[in-house]
Amino acid sequence: MKKVKPMIFVFSLLLICFCVVPFLYIIIRSILDANGEFTLEYFYQVFLAQSQYLLRFWKSLALSACIAAGQMLVSILAGYSFAKSKFPGRNFVFFLLIIWMIMPLQVTLVPNYLMLDELGLLNTYYALVLPMIFVPLGTFIMTQSFRAVPNEIMEAAQLDSANTINVVLRVMVPMSKSGLVCTMLLSFLDGWNMVEQPIVFLKELSQYPLSVALASVPPGDPNVQLVCCILAATPPLLLFALFNKEMAEGIELGGGKAV
């Protein structure tokens, strides 16, 4: 086994501490009261005493799941087109997609607002879900995943009289599982952590998902806010624990050969 230099070891340890210590702080403060004694009172306040925290949690989960499902569908179809179909301007359109992908969210916030206002979707959950479904990152990842699938397999399926939908669903998607999982995870995290869109597109405090509502939890007891942070961190942690291998493979594929 290769020996690690002491400086690199110390630096890595420091880096880990910077990442892990805030989480440890949250957990420790949430189980200790003002006198430093162990208590579950704050967990009771968040999980049992009031339903508003958990109801917001399920609402946010449903929103994120809808965003992830919608983005996966759009990404599969668009990714197949970019990877395997030859149409005029394909490279140019893909280039525009990459430009759109690296643009900050704030650039498209106002155009989205105007469009949603015209459609009469402001102050509804469609305003959060629809723009997020068409985010280009998923399409980019699926394009790279589908490019890795050999054309011969596709042609063999077509020889067996499979139509395009069958080829996509029964050949391409099963062979690009890691890319699909990566797309699902990243789009779920995007939806779970969104802050600007709810603030801009929604008016009522009761409609805000957990990511936004956390900031306005009554500051009467900061330990309650810390327990809310644990609640908010739970779905991403669990998803990462389930799919960390596929996510790493998907990101690796996404960083592969570009156009």
């Binding site: 999980f47 049992l48 005493a49 009031q50 109801l55 389930l242």
Partner: protein, 337 residues
């Protein structure tokens, strides 16, 4: 490894779902019921609002005067707000509380239990209260005072040095201890308490249902724990997850049904945390400190207590048996594979 993580994920989803159902019910149960007095039209600070002294709530920290106000944001809804002691005067001789006008007030005159500032309330004024027969236990920890005399509403059945047991033909439901203390002022004493037999019996009879809820959650947790250890020994864990998942979903449905049957009397609940076991134990202690000096009343309450204990033992035994059968069944099924 992934199977084990999936077991943990399923368990967390089950616990969060159960907590959601519990929190909806606890929020409703902990909603304090109040009667209010609206004072409108006192538009100038020169004028004075005068209230009877019975609107004050006493506790270990002194007297408190409460209002109902409309909250906003996270704290929306009708909530309790306490008026600062500097802002009102108590006249002990006249038995009144006075404070300056200047705005509309909605005072809490009586409540099902001691209000806590900031908590949600349900105003029951205006709703028809049907009087019914009830028995009251008056407990005087420092002994019955010399000035004691029973009111006309109470037919005293039994009396001792520290307790009085009597029947009230026109007792209002729900039972408000603070209101009854105001009604039976002539029976007042230092640190005295009033317990309603109907309320106590209603609370105790629901203890087996609460126990079933606790056992359902524990049982499903145990099953997922067994699945956690057993899932790596099977070639195809699909059936295991389907079996435990089906039991979890059935348990959630059962929890929902049982919660809809539960209706805990507000007078028996603690002020802040419904799981505050010490509160229930201290209430039990106070009640039985008076009951043990009264033979007939003690027998009545003991009969209820014994039947509840028997139900709890039988329920616990059945739940442990069923959980054990399910867990052992899972283990043997996996070993057979």
């Amino acid at each position: 490894m992934k199977r084990r993580v999936l077991c943990i994920v399923c368990l967390i989803v089950f616990v969060l779902s159960a907590c959601t159902l519990f929190s909806l019910k606890i929020e409703k149960e902990m909603l304090i019921q109040v009667e209010v007095k609206n004072v409108h039209g006192i538009s100038t600070w020169d004028e004075t609002v005068v209230l009877p002294k019975t609107v004050l709530f006493e506790d270990a920290y002194g007297s408190h005067l409460y209002l109902v106000v409309e909250g906003t944001g996270w704290e929306s809804g009708l909530r309790v707000e306490e008026i600062r002691k500097d802002n009102y005067k108590i006249d002990i001789e006249k038995g009144t509380v006075s404070l300056p006008g200047g705005s509309d007030y909605c005072f809490i005159t009586t409540a099902s239990r001691q209000p806590v500032p900031g908590e949600l309330v349900e105003i029951i004024e205006g709703k028809e209260i049907v009087p019914s027969e009830d028995s009251f236990l008056f407990v005087y920890p420092l002994g019955i005072p010399e000035s004691y005399s029973s009111t006309s509403g109470i037919a005293v059945a039994e009396e001792s040095q520290v307790a009085v047991y009597g029947t009230n033909q026109t007792a209002a439901e729900p039972f408000f201890e603070h209101k009854e203390m105001g009604t039976h002022q002539t029976m007042s004493g230092a640190n005295w308490r009033i317990f309603s037999e109907n309320t106590v019996a209603s609370f105790w009879k629901q203890i087996p249902l609460l126990l079933i809820l606790a056992l359902l959650v524990s049982g499903v947790t145990v099953l997922w724990g067994v699945s956690f250890f057993v899932c790596t020994y099977t070639y195809s864990p699909k059936r295991l997850f389907i079996f435990t998942g089906a039991i979890s979903i059935s348990s959630l449905i059962a929890i929902y049904v049982i919660l809809s049957l539960i209706d805990l009397p507000s007078a028996m609940l603690p002020t802040t945390n419904i799981l505050h076991i010490r509160h229930y134990l201290s209430e039990y202690e106070i009640m039985f400190s008076g009951l043990k000096t009264l033979s007939a009343a003690h027998q009545t309450f003991s009969v209820i207590e014994d039947s509840v204990k028997q139900s709890c033992i039988v329920t616990t035994a059945i739940a442990i048996l069923l959980t054990g059968i399910a867990a052992v069944g899972e283990w043997f099924y996996i070993r057979k594979e």
